[in-house]
Each structure stands twice: as structure tokens, then as C-alpha cells.
Amino acid sequence: MENIALAEPAANLSIWALFMQANWVVKLVMIGLLGASVWTWAIIFDKVVSYGRMRSALNRFEQIFWSGQSLEELYRTLSDRKTTGMGSIFVAAMREWKKSFEKGAKSPHGLQMRIDKAMDLALTREMERLEGNLGFLATIGSAAPFIGLFGTVIGIMTSFQAIAGSKSTSLAVVAPGIAEALLATAIGLLAAIPAVIAYNKLSSDAGKLAGRMEGFADEFSAILSRQIDEKVARS
């Protein structure tokens, strides 16, 4: 009698069995958390890859930019290509510069302002792309444990109701329900922990990249402003 009682729950305690035994609310929570985990990891992979690409693109651009190549030439090669990072900032600034000179703008102040604005816009757009889905990671990192806890509370609640119905307080009766409910918290933590770690890592990476791009934008703005001054002085 006792052997049977011990063997029975053991057979039903695999994770799949626990999931299948669970209440539908708990099931929903678990599925949602699993989906969140999948999405989190998708974002993490995506970000890691895109940040790596961005970093190498920045390195390449800086190399070309400071190689002494003529800015006009560089603009011509980059303008018909799809650019990222510093490239897009450079292209945006050069486009504004070109447009202003083609139309024969007189005020150097206005030109300077317009170029800065264009570069800011390009920078913001780049940053948006960089930090695009980091917010989701932050949300999962903070909310997933609570969602899991919600599932656990619901699960324990229903299992206690079931215990009250069965009128037995034996641990063998109580244990499966609680284990099943705790699975929800486990999945919540499983999703939340990588999300939090990745969020911290990726946001600091994004900050670094943004700093580099801002530095470049400032530098380029300074170069352009010098050029404008030279042109104004010449004319």
C-alpha cells in the first residue's frame, strides 16, 4: 500500500506531467513565460549580432574617414549605398551641406545649424535602431518573476482547494500540486534572469556605441564648421 503511494507521484512528477496536470491559468502563464523567454533570447541574439556588426562598421568607417580620403569622394561612394552608424550620420550631414551650397545659401550660421540638426536626427535614428528592443528585455527582467509568482499562487490555491476536497493532508497529496505550481515561478525566473543580465550588458554596449557616434558627429560638425568658415572667408 505504502509502496504504491510512493511510486505513484514519482511517476507523475516529470516536468511534462507537471505541466499537463496544471490548472489552465497556470498553463497559460507558463506558455506566456516560455514565449517571453523565446523572444528574450531572440532579442539577445539579434542585439549581440547587430552590435558586433555596428562596432566593426564604425571601425571600418573611422579608418576610411581618417585615411585622408576626400569627403566628397567618400560621400559619393556612400550615398548610393545603405549605410549604418557613422556612415549614415556622415551622409546626412554631407547631404545637407550639398543642398545648402547648391542653392547658394548665404548664412553660415543657418547652414551650421541645419547640418547639426541633420546629424542629430541621423544619430537619433541610429540609436533607436540600436536600443530598439532593449525595453522588452527590461520588462521581462522585472515582470517575469511576478508573472511566474502569479501562476504559482493560482496553482497553490487550486491545489489547496483540491486538498480540502480530498480531506487528506498527507504530504504525498499536497506535494504534486505545489511542485506543479512552483514550476510557473521556475519558468518565470528562467526567463527573467537572462533578460536582466542581457539588458544590463546590451544597454551598456549601446551606450558605448552611441558615445562613439556622438563623438564622431561632434568631430564632423567641427570639421564642417571650419569648412564653412573657410568658404565664407573666401567668398
Binding site: 511510486a7 514519482a10 516536468i15 511534462w16 516560455l34 523572444w39 531572440a42 539577445i44 541574439f45 539579434d46
Partner: protein, 370 residues
């Protein structure tokens, strides 16, 4: 993004699949089958409460003494045995040697022993009767010679009772004997306990001993006396020797059940119950006049020890064993406590628990009184 999403999905699927395989069911704890030990909490009172039974019999749910053979039921019998009368005399194993002793035994108290014997023996056993015939014989003889007593003879079927009478010249002894007889008659049929029968002969014996010892001795009894003098006489067995009933002893309670573990008697525990204790406390509290107007209450706590005899009467002076003082309020308190015990003196306590209240220690504490 698509690539990373598929990567993530694949990774999760892999992890889940791995988890399903490796994290399936945790191994169940090894529970060694330990036989559970039932634990009973048994109050001491239960141990001291003994049901009537057999000391050597195994435990049984239904308490019952050793089974008896005789089927006839004696009302109100307490002691288990094959007797027709209920007596608490211990069972003596062999009845054979006793008829011989019967003749030898009486001598320490020859006449009284003879008297009860004829009364009871006819009921109990047929054996002693043939031995006895010589006894009644001497009795009728003196009767016609000295005192014609028509009143007593028809009333009594006992010839033995008549025997001493001729010897007694004094009216007091006669009166006593006359008083005793009706009492015997009434008490005999249902019970014949040893103590009831014994005092009577003792009274008559003193009269006889004083007046007519030398004159009265019949040849038969004197010879028996001499024999018994030669035999070993144990003073401790006087009671048993005096009892002339069939020496097999035992009571008259019948039992047909399987014998179960138990004592000789059913006893109701030895300790005073809470109610009895409360009653004692209340009684003492009523007798106690608390010394008033004293500020040092610690000194007023007095413990008094006193002894009681079986009837609940105080034995000796109560003794202050703690608290109190030799002078001042402490002394007043101690004396008031002693006085309280003395004032309450005859205590009405259950006699069967005498062992627990033969010596009583009472704590008098004024702080309990307010």
C-alpha cells in the same frame, strides 16, 4: 531578427527536450519502512487502578478473575473462590491436612473456636462433621444438670452455644450470649465473615476464663489442647487457626470468563482525585483565619505537615516544616496554620486511598486567599 528568433526557438526546443529527458522525475526519497511505535500517555492513576484478575494470566480486554467451577451465584460476593460464603481469607492449598489440624488448632482459644465451627461447617463441608460429633456431646450433658434453658435451645440449632452456658454462673455473660445469638442468626445465612464470628466467643471466653476454667474442661478438649501444645504453634496464624471454616478459603464470587491479568481486588487508584483535593483545600481554607495587618507576606507562607489515622483523625500535633518564624507575624501565621488543621481535624477522606493521605503537607499561602 528572424534568424535570431529561429535560433532562440531552436535553442529553447533543445533545452526543453533535454529537460524532458534528463529532468524527468526526480528520484523518490528512499523511505525505509520503519515500524511505527505507538506511544500511549498513561497517567499514574491508571497504573494504580487494578482490575480483579489473575496475576499470571495474559492481558485481556475484558478483565476477569480465574474461572471457578461452582455455578451457584452468591449475591454481593467480592472475593473470587469456590466458597459458599464470601471471605477475604487467602486460599490455602490443601484441605486434607486441615481436618487433622482442626482438632489441634483450637487450643490457643479452645472454646470460642469450637462454637463457630458447628455453625458453619454443616453448610460448607460434610467432612469435618464426623470429626465433630464428640464436641456437641459434652455440651448437652452439663445442661440438664445445672441450668434448664428452654428459651435458647429451641431458638438455636447450635448445641455448641449451649455448652459454655452451664459453666457461667454470672448473669452478665449469659445476657451477652443471649444478645449475640439473634445477631448470629440474622447475619449467618448470607455471609459468615470471620471477624463477625470471632468477637462473640472472645467475650464469652473472658467470662469463662475468669470463672470456670478448671471446672469446665471436658476430657476431649483437654486432650486436644495437650496435643496442640506439643504441636508447633505459630502466633502469626492465630486468625487463620481460629477460623474453623473449610481451610480452602477464598470468596464466593463466581467467574466463567477467561482469566486476565489483574490483581486480587479491584482497586480505585491510590491518589486523591482533584475533587477530593479541592474539598480538603476548601475545608482547610474555611478553618483558617488569616493573620491580618501584616506587611511581610512572604513570611506568612507556611507549610504544615500532619498525620492522619484511618478514620481521618489527626495524629499528633501538626508540624510546621517551612515558613513562619519564631516570633512576630511569622509566628502568628505558623500558629494560625496549625490551628486551622487542628480545628478541621476529623477529615473525611476516602478510606481506600489512605496510603496517599496518611501524611499530608498543606501550604498555607495568604496570597491565594485574595
Amino acid at each position: 531578427m528572424k534568424a535570431s528568433l529561429t535560433t532562440s526557438l531552436a535553442l529553447h526546443a533543445a533545452v526543453l527536450a533535454f529537460g524532458l529527458v534528463s529532468l524527468s522525475a526526480p528520484a523518490a526519497f528512499e523511505v525505509s519502512e520503519v515500524e511505527s511505535l505507538p506511544v500511549d500517555i498513561v497517567p499514574l492513576e491508571e497504573l494504580t487502578q487494578i482490575q480483579q484478575g489473575d496475576k499470571k494470566a495474559p492481558m485481556n480486554e475484558k478483565p476477569a478473575p480465574t474461572p471457578t467451577q461452582r455455578p451457584d451465584i452468591v449475591a454481593d460476593a467480592r472475593e473470587v473462590g469456590e466458597n459458599s460464603v464470601d471471605t477475604d481469607k487467602p486460599i490455602t492449598p490443601d484441605p486434607k491436612p486441615t481436618p487433622v489440624d482442626n482438632a489441634a488448632a483450637p487450643p490457643p482459644a479452645p472454646k470460642p473456636a469450637e462454637k463457630p465451627a458447628p455453625q458453619e461447617t454443616p453448610k460448607e463441608e460434610p467432612k469435618p462433621e464426623p470429626v465433630k460429633p464428640p464436641e456437641p456431646k459434652p455440651a448437652p450433658k452439663p445442661e440438664p444438670v445445672k441450668e434448664p434453658q428452654p428459651v435458647q435451645k429451641p431458638a438455636d440449632q447450635k448445641p455448641a452455644e449451649a455448652k459454655p452456658e452451664p459453666a457461667k454462673p454470672d448473669a452478665v455473660a449469659e445476657a451477652i450470649a443471649a444478645e449475640d445469638k439473634p445477631a448470629e442468626q440474622s447475619s449467618l445465612p448470607d455471609r459468615a465473615p470471620a471477624p463477625q464470628a470471632r468477637p462473640k466467643p472472645a467475650e464469652t471466653q473472658t467470662a469463662k476464663a475468669a470463672d470456670s476454667k478448671p471446672a469446665q474442661k471436658t476430657p476431649a478438649s483437654s486432650s486436644a489442647q495437650q496435643k496442640s501444645d506439643d504441636k508447633d504453634f505459630n502466633a502469626d496464624e492465630i486468625a487463620a487457626l481460629l477460623d474453623k471454616r473449610k481451610p480452602s478459603g477464598g470468596g464466593a464470587k463466581r467467574s466463567t470468563e477467561q482469566a486476565s491479568l489483574g490483581g486480587r481486588k479491584t482497586t480505585g487508584g491510590n491518589r486523591l482525585s482533584q475533587n477530593e483535593m479541592d474539598a480538603l483545600r476548601q475545608k482547610l481554607g474555611g478553618c483558617w483565619s488569616i493573620p491580618a495587618g501584616v506587611d511581610d507576606a512572604a513570611m506568612l507562607k507556611v507549610s504544615v505537615r500532619f498525620r492522619l489515622d484511618r478514620s481521618g483523625v489527626l495524629e499528633g500535633r501538626p508540624e510546621v516544616i517551612s515558613g513562619g518564624a519564631s516570633s512576630g507575624p511569622g509566628r502568628t501565621a505558623a500558629e494560625s496554620a496549625v490551628r486551622a488543621v487542628q480545628k478541621c481535624a476529623p477529615f473525611n477522606l476516602p478510606a481506600d486511598k489512605y496510603d496517599s493521605w496518611s501524611e499530608v503537607v498543606v501550604n498555607f499561602d495568604p496570597s491565594d486567599m485574595f
